[in-house]
Amino acid sequence: MGISDREVSLSDEDELQEDQVNEDYESESESELEDGDVKLSEPSKDSVYDTEGLLDKLGDISWPQNLPWIDKLTVDIDQAQEVDVNDDLARELAFYTQALEGTRQAFEKLQKMEVPFLRPPDYYAEMVKSDSHMEKVKGRLLAEKRKIEEAEERKKAREAKKLAKEVQAQKQKERAKQKKEEIEVVKKWRKQRQQSGFSDKGNDLPLDFEDGKSFERSSKKRPGVSPGDRSGGKAWQGGKKGKMKKRDFRDSKFGFGGKKGMKKQNTAETTNDFRDSNKGGASGNKKRKR
């Protein structure tokens, strides 16, 4: 670096620096601002730039030149193009590529020196961020993923619904058509039979509604539906939820077809019940169904 040459000649220049310093403390406050932004657009002319002093200090503090690289672990990466500070993505990308390049070079060197540099998977030691913190991070990542997935699913469901509706409409149309056709066929057959005078045995008549299919129900299986089930498979649909139970209870007690006529009883509840005070006189029927 050639700094050792300068060290000798610099003792004189130290005095010069001190004079400059006094002027500069005032000059800084006079500098003008053009856009009122963080940066001055014109550099203030009197700022100190003491190259020799800087290099002098550099010589003072720097470690000896022949330090093995392993002690310093530094890599210099060339920054290819000028990155605009305000473009966040590009800036971060530049940092990332710089880091990646640097790591690759460093790893190659380390590999040559046969120094292990990767943590084996079974090496457990204290990490910089606590485990609970990492749990939070993981939780957040998962939550984000789930949100995205849910949004996707909702979209798909919407599309599928649309399609399903169309398909259903079509099916209904078809069914209606089929029904009509069958009725027509039966009518025709009847007419023909009428015309031919009920005499034949039915052998040569086209009975195309009797091709064996009309009495078969659709062969789609519906789970949980036994053949003799007339409710359409909806009678048992799993247990009811809590609120429905309450509703059902009240329905059975007060609804249509509720309890059998215990409405005018003098029960524990109704003695204090002054809602309808015109109703009085409970009959003494103690057959209270509990």
Binding site: S31, K39, L54, K57, I61, T74, I77, A99, L118, P120
Partner: protein
């Protein structure tokens, strides 16, 4: 404003200095007491501005920075993690070699942010990288975790080096150098950033136009009065119509 002192991810040399506002001699003493050679001092002013001093303690140069754009490690978007105490790899962009003051800063950064080799608290592997780059005359700092998908622990094949990914651990900040001093926390100024404007000045400037509006209003009022006095209105013909 965040106080990053507790967040220094490098658990290395004993930087446990906590003094508040007095600079100079006290800090130097503290550092010597702790047997350290360098010091990072975070100073927070008015709960809004964070300054960082980097100094080499016995006699060395010191730098004062203004810190911007701080994101601490607590942020959940920075998902990486690394061994506490493992030695970092330091990468610098080549702009550091362009000027003398950057060279000096680079040297100081190497000495401060690099964990020395045989330190008791350092752990053997290298699993994170520090990135220092100069963009727009600011030093940007990032800390990434190196993750390489690998099967065997020792041998790393060519292929897996390509698949290396970096996950950001944090923290991240941006340093704006203000001044470099020859001594530790004082001394002759070796460098001043010509583009630096103190945050106080920025805030004052932002508030100035608001002050102007009131002054303008007052002036406008007086102008109006003068105008009215100098051009009296003609007497209104219909003024007395409704008087009766």
């Amino acid at each position: 404003m965040l106080n990053m002192v507790s967040l220094l991810p490098h658990c290395k040399k004993d930087n446990k200095v906590e003094s508040k506002e007095i600079k100079g001699a006290t800090l130097n003493e503290l550092v010597e007491l702790r047997n350290c050679s360098s010091c990072l001092f975070f100073e927070c002013r008015k709960h809004k501005d964070l300054y960082l001093w980097m100094a080499k303690c016995p006699n060395g140069p010191s730098v004062k920075f203004l810190v911007n754009a701080v994101h601490t490690m607590e942020e959940l978007k920075l998902t990486g993690n690394h061994l506490r105490g493992s030695r970092p790899l330091l990468t610098f962009s080549t702009n550091f070699d362009n000027n003398a003051h950057w060279k000096l800063l680079k040297e100081m950064i190497i000495q401060i942010f690099g964990t020395p080799k045989g330190h008791q608290k350092s752990k053997p592997y290298h699993d994170h990288v520090f990135v220092f780059s100069i963009v727009d005359d600011h030093i940007w700092f990032r800390n990434y975790q190196i993750s390489v998908p690998h099967n065997e622990s020792d041998k790393v094949s060519r292929g897996s080096l390509e698949k290396m990914t970096l996950v950001e651990v944090g923290p991240r900040f941006c340093l704006n150098p203000i001044k470099i001093f020859g001594g530790s926390f004082g001394g002759p100024t070796l460098y001043e950033n010509p583009f630096y404007v103190s945050p106080n000045q920025i805030r004052a400037l932002e508030r100035k136009p608001k002050v102007n509006t009131f002054a303008k209003k007052v002036k406008a009022k007086t102008r109006r009065k003068m105008h009215e006095l100098s051009n009296p209105l003609e007497p209104d013909e219909f003024a007395d119509m409704w008087k009766e």
